[in-house]
Structure formats: C-alpha cells, structure tokens
C-alpha cells in the first residue's frame, strides 16, 4: 500500500494491473477483499465487493479491451475514512447508455439473452457505481464505492 503522512492522508491507494485475460479478475477480487478486510468491512460486504469488482474487471476485459491481451485493465483502490473507492480502467470508449435491468421471466422464455447481468450485479452490490467514458475515447472507467457505514434503509 502506498500512503501519505497522517496529517495529509485522505486515502491509501493500492493499484493492480491485470492482463485482459478472463480469470485474472480474481487477482483484483483478492486484492480488493484484502483491502476491505483491513478497513474493517463486514464479511458480507467484502463478498459483495468481490463480486462487483470481478464483474467490473470482466466487463473491462471483454467489452473495453475486447480481450486484447496487449491491453491491460487498471484497478485502483482508494481506502478513505468513509469507505473504499475502486476504479476499474480499460482502453475502451465507455458506455453510452446503461443496459436495462435483467428480467428473469423474459430470459427463461427466450425473449432476452441469458447473459448480461454483470452491470446489474455491480449496481446492486455496491453503494455507488458510475461509468465514465474516457475523454479521448480511451481510459474509460467504472467507479465503485462501498461505504463503511451505509445509511440505514
């Protein structure tokens, strides 16, 4: 972990760079889980984060970098006093629109692709999720946040 002096420290940052090869999302999952545990997140929140980070990395590899192993996926974890922010960065153009919420009935009846649940899971499992298109059609990212004390529902 890289950190600043306590007086200046707002966040402690960890960075991981992954090849665009399916399976390597587990490296980011493990790293995110380790940071979240150090921050004191509950086990169920750590599991939520692991799935969200994995799905964000898979999207970055498949859709952002089109599984081009010459391109890497950057994962930047910033641990702050209120929570953990994760940015997953790829070389794609980013999303123009978010896909609709998956509908299991339509999937079972063959009216909707059985796939396409990654972004829904990301949004459902973290406190904040936003997709940001890169300024030059590259370096797009998804930003996830889980808070240490989520507001009560």
């Amino acid at each position: 972990m890289s950190g600043a002096s306590p007086a200046k420290a707002k966040a402690t940052t960890v960075e991981v760079r992954l090849p665009s090869r399916l399976g390597y999302e587990k490296v980011a999952m493990s790293t995110a889980a380790a940071v979240a545990k150090l921050m004191g997140f509950r086990e169920d929140r750590v599991e939520d984060l692991k799935t969200a980070v994995a799905e964000a990395c898979i999207n970055a590899m498949e859709h952002g970098n089109r599984l081009n192993e010459g391109l890497s996926v950057g994962v930047v974890l910033s641990a702050g006093p209120e929570g953990l922010e994760v940015k997953v960065i790829d070389d794609g153009k980013g999303l123009k629109t978010l896909p609709p919420k998956p509908d299991i009935d339509r999937k079972i009846h063959g009216e909707e692709d059985p796939r396409g649940m990654g972004m829904f899971l990301i949004q459902a499992l973290v406190d904040e999720a936003e997709w940001v298109a890169g300024a030059n059609g590259k370096a797009s990212y998804v930003r996830l946040v889980i808070r240490l004390d989520p507001p009560s529902q």
Partner: protein
C-alpha cells in the same frame, strides 16, 4: 487462472420415491464451464429425468457468465418439463441468485438433506 469446473452426476431417490439426478459441481462456474454445466445436464435422459438437484457446495466462485449458464440450464429444463432445485450455495451467492430471480425457477436449500426432503 480459473479453476476447472468438475462435475458428476449421482442418482438418488426422494423420500416420496421419485428418482432425482444430482449434478455436483466443483471449482469455478464461469464462461469456461459450459461443458461442465450444460454438457453434464444435456447428457441426462430427458424422458426419465424429471427432478434435478444442483449441488454447489464445492463451488467457491460464480460470475455472471456462470449464472447465465445456470439460466440456460433452467430454460432447457423448463422446456422439458423438469423441476430444478439447488443447494450448497454460500450466503452471498444465495443472495445473488435471489437478486437475479433464479429462485423463481429453482428452489434453493441449505443442504442436500433439506432439498431432498422438499421434493
């Protein structure tokens, strides 16, 4: 990097005397698991297999591609008049399966004993 998905089938009988095919998975369930999940299911005889139990107790990692394979299995089972149940999911993946709606089409149970008792 992803651990290979292993699968095997056991035939058991429910307390009510119905034959049940138990598909036991081990390892990751991801995009590379098509043969282990769908291939194993599709090898079951459709005429005689009416109750299917999915055993996830030795599965550590399921991603959205793996969930899509489970949904494809549920589609084929629904079209074949088969009923599907599952057990052994961790609390987290029980939540995920519930969130995506799989519980509408496959009953989830904590253990094989509880699942079989409900069949």
């Amino acid at each position: 990097m992803q651990s290979e998905t292993k699968s095997r089938v056991d035939q058991i009988t429910s307390p009510a005397g119905h034959p049940v095919s138990v598909l036991r998975f081990e390892g990751d369930i991801a995009s590379t698991s098509k043969e282990a999940v769908l291939g194993t299911y599709q090898a079951l005889p459709k005429q005689t297999t009416k109750l299917i139990l999915l055993d996830f107790s030795k599965v550590d990692y399921i991603n959205s591609s793996g969930i899509a394979l489970v949904i494809q299995l549920l589609i084929e089972a629904a079209n074949s008049g088969q009923k599907v149940f599952a057990y052994g999911l961790s609390p987290h993946f029980t939540k995920v399966f519930t969130m995506v709606g799989i519980t509408k089409y496959a009953g989830l149970f904590p253990s094989q004993q509880e699942a079989v008792a409900a069949l």
